[in-house]
Every structure is written in C-alpha cells, then in structure tokens.
Symmetry: C2
Subunit: 211 residues, 2 copies
DNA sequence: CTCCCGATTGACCGATCGGTACATTGTTAA
DNA sequence: TTAACAATGTACCGATCGGTCAATCGGGAG
C-alpha cells in the first residue's frame, strides 16, 4: 500500500471526504464514478474495490455523518441544563456541525431521496432520531413550564430554521461565527421577534383563513 | 396537433407539470430525457422540439415558479397591513404555495445548483428578490417599532423556517392546513416559545462560547 | 526466496446519456 | 390542390454511465 500515511488519513477516509466535496458540488446523480476517481487519484476499478457501489458510498457517507451528529446531540440532551440553555446548546452543536462539515450536510440534506430500498429507510430512521433530540428538549421545557409546545409543527419549524442554515451559512458570514448564528436563531424561537411595547397586546391572527 | 385540448392544457404546460413531478421524484440529474418522454407521452425528438434542452426545461420550470411566487408575495407586501399581520399573510402565501406546488418547490429548492452560467445567476437573482420580500416586511416592523431586527440572520432564519416546510409539510399533515402551519410558525417567530412566567426573567445566553 | 494478499490497473460489458438530423404527419391558409 | 407550417417519430451520434473481471503490482511474513 503506497501513500497510506501521507496525511495520516486512510484511503477509506479520503474517499468519503472527497466524495462529500464532489457530491456537494455536482450532486449525487450528477457525479460519475470516473470523476470521483480523478478527485481521489484512484482509477475506477480501485475505487470500486473500496466503495462497493456508488450508492453504498452515498449511504456510508450519510450514515457516518448523521450518526456522529446524533452522538454529539445526545450528549447535549443528557445534560441537566435549563431547557432554554439546552436548546441553545443543541442549536450550537447543530450549527457548528453544519459550518464544519458543510459538504456532508449538503449531501445528506439534498440527496435524502437518492437512496433506495432498505438503505433509504435506515437513514430516514437516523434522521428521525436526530429530530427526536429537538422534540425531547422542547418537551422537557413544556414539562417544566417554560416552553409552550413540543408538537410536530413546532419541532419541525424550529429544526427547519436551523437546518436551513446549510444553504446560507458561509455565504452570509463575515464576522458571523456559527455560535453567534445559533444563538441568534435560538433567541428568535425562544423570545420571538415582537417588541412587547406596541405589538404584544394585539391579538394577532386577525386574518381570515383562505384555502 | 393532436390532443391539444384534452385537458385544456397546452403541450408546453403539460411538459412543465410532468417534468416537475419527475424531477421532484428522481432528481434533475437522475432523470433521463427518455424518461421525461415516457411521462409526457412524447418521444425524445418531439420533446426536444418543445424544450430546447434539458437545462432549458429546468430553468423555465424554476423561473416560472419563482416569478409567480414573487408576484403573489409582492401583492402582500404592497398592502398596508400591520407588520405582524403582513408577515402572517406573507407566510400563508408562502406555505400555501409550497403545499399547492410541492413538486415545483422541491425542484427549485433542491436543484438550485444544477443550473449553470447565466441561467444560474438569473435564477439566483429571482430568489434574492423573493428573500427581499421578507426583509421588507421585517424592516417595516422595525421602523414601526414592533419588530426587533431585520438583519440577514433574522431574515434567513425566518425564511428558512418556512422554506423547510417543503420537506415535511404533507408528510405530517393530518388535520393540518397550510394556513394553520403558517400561522403556527409565524407565532413562533413573532411571540417566541418561551412562557413569560417562569422563564423570561432568565438572562439566557449563559453558555460560554466554544469553537 | 517464495508465497500470500491487499491494492490497483486497464479492458470490457450493455445500457443509457443529452443532443441532432431528417423524414413524415396532420392541419390550415392561399 | 397545393404550399406552408408546427409537431412528431425514427434513427443515429459520440460520450459516458455504473459495474465486473482477470491480470498484475508491491511489500511483508514464513
């Protein structure tokens, strides 16, 4: 085995890292295995020796990423922080992950549906587990009387706000650290954007529904 | 021209509609032109007569969608509603669009980067215009003293919360109408999730930063 | 030295890719 | 009747697709 220790990174790890880059840039279906080979310095035959199949590569890449994020998230949930601080900590962990592993996040988010069969179901389950982290934190808050709700719409709304940062995070950052962004977004969902002075006494919800 | 009036829908419109369905399901790069042909009942030659190229099709599909959403949004922004109500109305319009045109939204969101060159830039500009709608509404609120902030992070956070509904909206809906969801999410960003009684006097932001 | 084995190469497979050229269809206007 | 025209089908282009396979390489262990 030639340059195994070039950057103390195994071939497997290099393939996963490079695949995340290329998939993020050109899309899973938009990337050929030959192109993956060029980016890794391997010919297609050698590449297949390591990856099994193109879809296996996507699956392993995604699985590893979500499992790692899940581990970090679980550690936060396991703390005994106040619900507001726990939500903030989870948000920080989440946004930091997005900032640090932008390519992987892009692939996991965008290529959700590119996986098929059992693989797709297994990864969906992992994503559900991650979502449950936010449900748990919000529910703790409800139980302690500090949050209003932990239903599906609330959880998905809050999580969506954080998830969407993967689209804009480094395009908009100048002096913006991931922690700064996470804190700001946390404040929005926790405290709201409304100033209490002039707006709070309004009932809101004055619009009539329409289909 | 054969079945032009079969559903009082032109061939062009049928192609755009079907392309949105197939692209949403299999991805832009994951869909072959032949497959598009089968789904529209046209052979590839006939299809190319109408679409020019595959990327033209994606571009026209995306452009039409964003322009229509932009028109509807501009009408809301042009009203003289109270900022909170205007935000709610814009949110409803947005979520209703997502619910009603799910396939198109999926394609526009997911295949952002599949367009190349000038086309990519033109569509990015349209998306920026749409984002500016939310900036404008929030800024009006700030000017009138009812909202706290209209900076980039706030706008992108709020818009992201609404945008992300395209991922989960009809999977989670039982008795949930788009208007219900839009109102709930609007309430979160406007009023926050924190109950005033026990949590408000906390400072929040007690976490120490970490890289 | 030799055997072994992880790693790599290059050739090959059938299928499909996006796109083009051209003949043909059916309808309409002159 | 015929000329024009939009619309469609068929055949073809070179390139690339994902995937397989046998041959080979190179270094460590016996």
């Amino acid at each position: 085995m030639p340059n195994q220790q070039d950057e103390h990174e195994s071939t497997q790890e290099r393939i996963l890292r490079v695949a995340a880059e290329v998939f993020a840039r050109k899309g899973y279906h938009g990337t050929g295995v030959a192109e993956l080979g060029e980016a890794t310095g391997l010919k297609r035959g050698a590449l297949y020796y390591h990856i099994g199949s193109k879809e296996d590569l996507l699956y392993n890449l995604s699985k590893r990423h979500v499992e790692e994020a899940l581990d970090r998230g679980k550690r936060v949930v396991a703390t005994d922080l106040h619900p507001v601080d726990k939500l903030r900590a989870l948000a920080r962990e989440h946004v930091q992950t997005i900032a640090a592993r932008r390519d992987e996040v892009t692939v996991v988010m965008r290529e959700m549906n590119a996986l098929t069969g059992k693989r797709a179901r297994q990864l969906a389950k992992l994503r559900d587990e991650y979502q449950d982290l936010f449900t748990a934190v919000l529910q703790e808050g409800v139980d302690e009387g500090v949050f209003r709700s932990a239903d599906h719409v609330t959880v998905l709304g809050v999580l969506g706000m954080f998830n969407w940062t993967y689209v804009w995070l480094d395009a908009e950052r100048g002096p913006l650290s991931p922690e700064h962004v996470a804190d700001r977004l946390t404040d929005i969902v926790v405290y709201g954007e409304l100033l209490t002075s002039r707006g709070a006494k309004r009932g809101g919800r004055k619009l009539t529904g329409r289909a």
